[in-house]
Symmetry: C2
Subunit: 191 residues, 2 copies
DNA sequence: CTCTCCATGTAAATGGTTACATGATTCA
DNA sequence: TGAATCATGTAACCATTTACATGGAGAG
């Protein structure tokens, strides 16, 4: 189980309700994981049953009540154990790459459109992550922050997220460029 | 379904048996997808039932018979349709990133070891992919190849695989470096 | 009065991993 | 004689996605 640990990691710094976690999984955790709200609520229930987190009901004024979850000692222990066993390499597994592999078997223009859209999306995501890291380090330089801060984990994953999205954007643009040139060559005939 | 299309994409260029596909999914397709042998055999059965591929029994000398699969017209059509609908962005979803996020909650040294191993693994993979691309382009330069070749899809996905693994390696090393410095600071006390 | 945000779920279907199973050939 | 390669699967389990469901509050 994997989401399990991602949720625990997200709760290391701050307690959160299910709803708040959906926001966190859209922002900072989105560097390296995504989970739908349904998935999160289900996982929180299971984690509480296993005693790795505890929930407390918080009444709110003019808003629905919420259940705020905190990681327990045995949750921290589970996280320590998880960190101790070596993990296997992950794969990209991206539909868009499958499409590019098969590019010549389909419509090149619609693929170029898809790539262009994705480039913009990736760039925007990288930009957002950069903003988050700026907030984390405050007035320190990155080097200072990485030495001084009490907590560097989220910053480091942020760096990975940024580089992933930037590389993604660059590649999408390059692939779109190559395919566009081929569309033109096709239309112009092969002299 | 996603593996479905990855298999079709792999069969665009060459027919292959299940066993041969496991090799392909370990090499060139490994840029962007992975599937276990069991998964592949199951998917091939389903694809044949749906008529998107056809298998023929090939008898071999001193080796078990094999079933070689070829993509059909309706398989090519399915691929075209797949390419036409826009795809959603993918996520990294890597256990190692989860661990780094939670770094301070566990043993830093075992995390550094994990990161170092992964860096080496990623570097090796990038290197392998570079060899494959070199073979693909032969004596042409990359620019020439991307204009001339009849088929650039696999080359483009290869480029993405290389950049992903290189960035992975660089990030792993950087994170290991940062965490190692913090281990030393911890051991040396905080003067 | 409609849309978005807050807040939480259930249920069904699809996709992926892990464990188990078999048997011949070739190379060291 | 033991390991690696060729060759193919079944079964059980675990994880993720998608569709469906509800309801109040505040903003425009």
């Amino acid at each position: 189980m994997a989401l399990r640990h991602a949720v625990l990691a997200a709760l290391v710094d701050h307690d959160a309700s299910g709803y708040e976690l959906t926001k966190v999984f859209d922002m900072s955790v989105a560097n390296y994981w995504y989970a739908s709200p349904q998935q999160l609520y289900a996982e929180l229930t299971r984690l509480e049953e296993s005693g790795l987190i505890t929930g407390r009901e918080v009444a709110q004024d003019k808003r629905p009540n919420k259940r705020v979850f905190a990681i327990t000692d045995s949750g921290r222990e589970a996280l320590r154990d998880f960190i101790d066993v070596a993990s296997k390499p992950a794969f990209i597994r991206d539909d868009l790459l499958v499409k590019v592999h098969a590019a010549e078997a389909g419509n090149l223009q619609s693929l170029v459109d898809d790539l262009t859209e994705r480039a913009a999306h990736a760039e925007a995501k990288a930009h957002r992550f950069e903003g988050l890291l700026q907030i984390l380090r405050g007035d320190r330089t990155e080097a200072e922050f990485l030495v001084d801060a009490t907590r560097v984990g989220p910053y480091l994953t942020g760096l990975r997220g940024i580089s992933f999205e930037r590389e993604n954007a660059a590649w999408c643009r390059r692939a779109a460029e190559v395919l566009t040139a081929r569309i033109r060559a096709e239309v112009g005939g092969t002299p």
